[in-house]
């Protein structure tokens, strides 16, 4: 085995395992560079197990191992009760467990996970589902425990996602399996009914009195039974729900048409009056099911229903007696004593018993500031401990803590998906009564004129107006729009979102993480290189000041030790100065720091802080504005069409910068999560009822929920996002206006399709009221109208998608 050596600083290399920059101390092992010992260990392990083609399949396939997991983190998995939810199957010999692993991203991942048995022979088999980022692992009991399996895959960089909400309520199957089954049955019946109806289509009259015709009719009848009673079941269910709620939806006329079609056809077949409409029934059911399938686009790896439990750890370290014990979070109670370590989340409101607490509440408030807490003081849930381990005593349950109370608000209780204001339900409110009226009138008319035709005309109207084309236009248009947007990094929860989006009048933005970039890589230093000593000076000085630029530099240099600063002065508009040990240091404007000749950069997106030490000019920190690129243009495009507001959890330090974009009286600062929710509520109560909230974090969760549409901006869609209606990749934020425009166009497409299909219906009614509509006319007219509508809406949504900048070709 080769020895590992350290990489010299300044040589630019990337890690062989994870592809991360090795700057600031990587190491070389086996002549390959690694960024940290974690990555090197994984490499070594794979090398020994003869699995080095992990690296051949893809370049740098690994995930960074810099953030190590704490020893004993998974001890709670030894507890049978809490681990139970992960198990799919278990007997004396083997156990099968399923894990959700967000890190799965390429074929190397599949290779590695499926060959786990080479690393540990106690693992019998592992199977990866790439699309759902899931691994099912079968292992031998007695040779390896569930905890050891989890530790093994976590060690090689595939830490499974284990959090409270996933374990408490096992994911409901989102799959479209039942649609495939129903479509399969419908297609089978449809094909065979068509085949048996062929003599009718060809008008072979010689058969008319032949017993063969009866035989074909009975066969058709039998084949139509599964279509009506199995495949079409959900249309009946949906119509039934609507009737029970005393409302009308599009499924009512559809079901009415289907039932009439079936009864009339059965009558025709058994009374030998004709061939019936069974072929039409089957083809319409098939098309409608395909429409439903198309509408139900789901993203297997995204969840739009997350609440605080997804963010919280599954287990905590509880102290009983003098010993520390890892237990599931759901089992802790008021009065329990727990230990919270560096970067861990406080799970419930508690008082600090001992230790130095520096709590970062950015998770709750959106404000990035660490708050020192004294022993005996209260710490609120959702805060993150920065620093050494602290000991806490719980004063509230997890579900009744300050942060989690937000979820007890009414906004989280009543948000029904059965929107009554969709275009579809609006149209059907007039459509259904109109159809019934026409059929009754024509029935009554023929009763007078020619009573033989009365029943014929009555049923024919109900059959021909079965609004399948009408009902198909929305699913196909909206389903297609969702798909196109999904390819461009905008993931919407369902098709209702598009409808609501088209009506938006007011847009409310969160600041941190939404208008601004969360990543703090926006600082770099230019000039004479600073020694470690000098960097400590800068860090200590800027730590004293609350100026936003100082804060940024201070965060940037957070790893440096902070020294005491004497004779500190802050000069308004110029800079800060102070003595640290024997050094005199100034930070601020160019002339303040004594630099000459170097002009200040007049770029609105960057600010500079110049540094001098002992009167000697050193250089400057260039701080790029965190606002997302293109924000100015986006606001410019939105400004005249929407009311724009900004809600920020931060203090108003950024007010000046934001005023460039949005009127000052529409900027609200120091907003707590509940304030944000209430702000949206007041807006809605005052008639601004179409409010879209765009946020990113848990602190926006209430507002996202209360608003008509809540969109979440996400840097990494593998991360959790709070419950929302749509997730937008950070890079696509500036396309928000195109998104709204596209939604409006989509609604226009649907309206045109409605007009088209109504025209078809009128033509059909014209034939039907005459009482002479033959089954073959229905069999041709109705599928043709449906197919025209489907092609029109699909094509139009592609073309308009392209026009709004969502071209088809791009993949994510």
């Amino acid at each position: 085995m080769s020895q590992s050596t350290y990489i010299l600083a300044g040589v630019h290399t990337v890690c062989y395992h994870c592809g991360e920059d090795c700057d600031g101390g990587g190491l070389v092992f086996d002549q390959k560079p690694f960024c940290c010992s974690g990555c090197q260990t994984v490499y070594e392990l794979l090398e020994q197990s003869g699995m080095d083609c992990y690296y051949d399949l893809n370049q740098k396939p690994g995930t960074s191992r810099k953030a190590k997991y704490r020893e004993g983190k998974y001890n709670w998995l030894d507890d049978v009760e809490s681990a139970k939810k992960l198990l799919q199957y278990s007997d004396e010999d083997i156990t099968i467990a399923a894990f959700n692993i967000p890190a799965i991203h390429c074929s190397s991942c599949i290779y590695l996970l499926e060959n786990l048995y080479k690393i540990n022979p106690a693992i019998v088999r592992a199977q990866v589902n790439f699309l759902q980022k899931e691994a099912r692992i079968t292992f031998k009991n007695g040779q390896i425990s569930l905890r050891q399996v989890v530790e093994l895959i976590a060690r090689i960089g595939y830490e499974p996602r284990l959090n409270m909400s996933d374990l408490e309520q096992p994911a409901t199957s989102l799959s479209n399996q039942h649609y495939y089954l129903k479509i399969g049955v419908a297609f089978f019946c449809f094909g065979n009914i068509m085949l048996l109806s062929f003599p009718e289509y060809l008008g072979i009259d010689t058969l008319s009195e032949h017993p063969m015709r009866r035989f074909f009719g009975y066969a058709n009848f039998l084949l139509a039974l599964p279509v009506l009673f199995y495949s079409a079941r959900e249309f009946f269910a949906s119509a039934y729900v609507a009737i029970r709620h005393k409302s009308l939806n599009m499924d009512i006329p559809i079901v009415l048409g289907m039932v009439v079609m079936f009864i009339r056809s059965s009558y025709d077949i058994f009374m030998q009056q004709g061939a019936g409409y069974m072929d039409t029934l089957a083809s319409l059911t098939l098309l409608m099911l395909i429409g439903r399938l198309f509408q139900n686009k789901t993203y297997a790896t995204l969840s739009f229903e997350r609440d605080y439990r997804s963010y919280f750890p599954v287990s905590v370290s509880k102290i009983t007696g003098g010993t520390e014990q890892t237990i599931a979070l759901s089992q802790i109670k008021v009065g329990d004593k727990i230990i919270v370590r560096n970067e861990e989340l406080i799970p419930a409101d508690s008082t600090l018993l001992n230790g130095v607490a520096m709590i970062d509440y950015s998770f709750v408030t959106g404000e990035s500031k660490t708050v020192p807490v004294k022993s005996g003081d209260k710490i609120y849930a959702g805060g993150k401990q920065m620093g050494s381990a602290i000991k806490l005593e719980l004063v509230n349950d997890v579900s009744h803590s300050y942060l989690t109370q937000l979820w007890n608000d009414d906004a989280f209780k009543n948000k029904s998906e059965l929107s009554t204001s969709t275009l579809n339900t609006k149209v059907s409110r007039y459509f259904t009564p109109a159809v019934i009226l026409i059929s009754l009138i024509s029935g009554l008319y023929w009763m007078q004129a020619d009573s033989h035709k009365a029943l014929n005309a009555f049923t024919a109207v109900l059959i021909i107006t079965c609004p399948c084309a009408l009902a198909l236009s929305a699913p196909f248009t909206l389903g297609n729009v969702i798909r196109i947007l999904g390819k461009h990094g905008i993931y919407l929860k369902n098709t209702f979102v598009i409808e609501k989006m088209a009506k938006i009048r007011t847009i409310v933005f969160d600041k941190t993480g939404t208008l601004t970039n969360n990543k703090s890589q926006n600082i770099n230093y230019q000039g004479t290189p600073l020694t470690n000593r000098e960097q400590i000076y800068v860090a200590s000085l800027t730590h004293q000041s609350s100026h936003p630029l100082s804060k940024k530099i201070s965060t940037y240099l957070h790893s440096k030790k902070i020294e005491e600063v004497t004779s500190f002065h802050e000069m308004q508009g110029k800079g800060i100065e102070g003595m640290i040990q024997n050094g005199f240091i100034r930070a601020g404007a160019l002339d303040f720091a004594g630099g000459v000749g170097r002009p200040d950069l007049h770029d609105s997106n960057t600010s500079t802080v110049h540094i001098s030490i002992d009167g000697l000019y050193k250089g400057y920190y260039e701080i790029r504005n965190d606002y997302r690129t293109g924000l100015g243009e986006l606001i410019e495009r939105l400004k005249n069409r929407f009311d724009l507001y900004v809600l920020s959890g931060d203090n108003n330090a950024e007010k000046k910068n934001l005023e460039k974009y949005i009127q000052a009286d529409r900027l609200l600062f120091d907003q707590q999560p509940l304030d944000k929710l209430n702000f949206i509520k007041t807006m809605q109560d005052h008639g601004h009822n179409k409010v879209m909230m765009i946020g990113d974090g848990l602190n926006d969760a209430g507002a996202l929920r209360q608003s008509d549409i809540g969109l979440v901006i996400s840097e990494d869609t593998n991360n959790f996002s709070p419950a929302c209606d749509g997730i937008v990749e950070a890079g696509k934020f500036i396309q928000i206006d195109s998104l709204i425009n596209y939604s409006r166009s989509a609604m226009r497409i649907i309206k045109i399709s409605y007009t088209l299909s109504l025209l078809y219906n009128i033509a059909g009614i014209y034939l039907a009221v005459q009482g002479t509509m033959s089954p073959i006319v229905a069999a041709i007219l109705m599928p043709i109208s449906s197919i025209t509508i489907i092609s029109f809406s699909t094509l139009a949504s592609y073309i308009l998608g392209r026009a709004h900048g969502f071209a088809q070709a791009q993949t994510r």
């Binding site: 799919q88 599949i110 022979p121 699309l131 399969g184 089978f188 063969m212």
Partner: protein
Amino acid sequence: MMSVLYILIPACLCMSALFLAAFLWSVRSGQYEDDYTPAVRILFDNIEKPNSTNKTKADDSRKV
């Protein structure tokens, strides 16, 4: 002559019903749930080292 259809059509229906049953079975057993991984997995067989113990493919028990 035509009466042969009385046998042929039910026979046809039965045969196609078999295919329908095969389709329904394949959906229910989850074969359509992941259409990506199997396509990748097949490529790994070529790079498999000879001493593999990959014999336990039979235990696909979906029940809990």
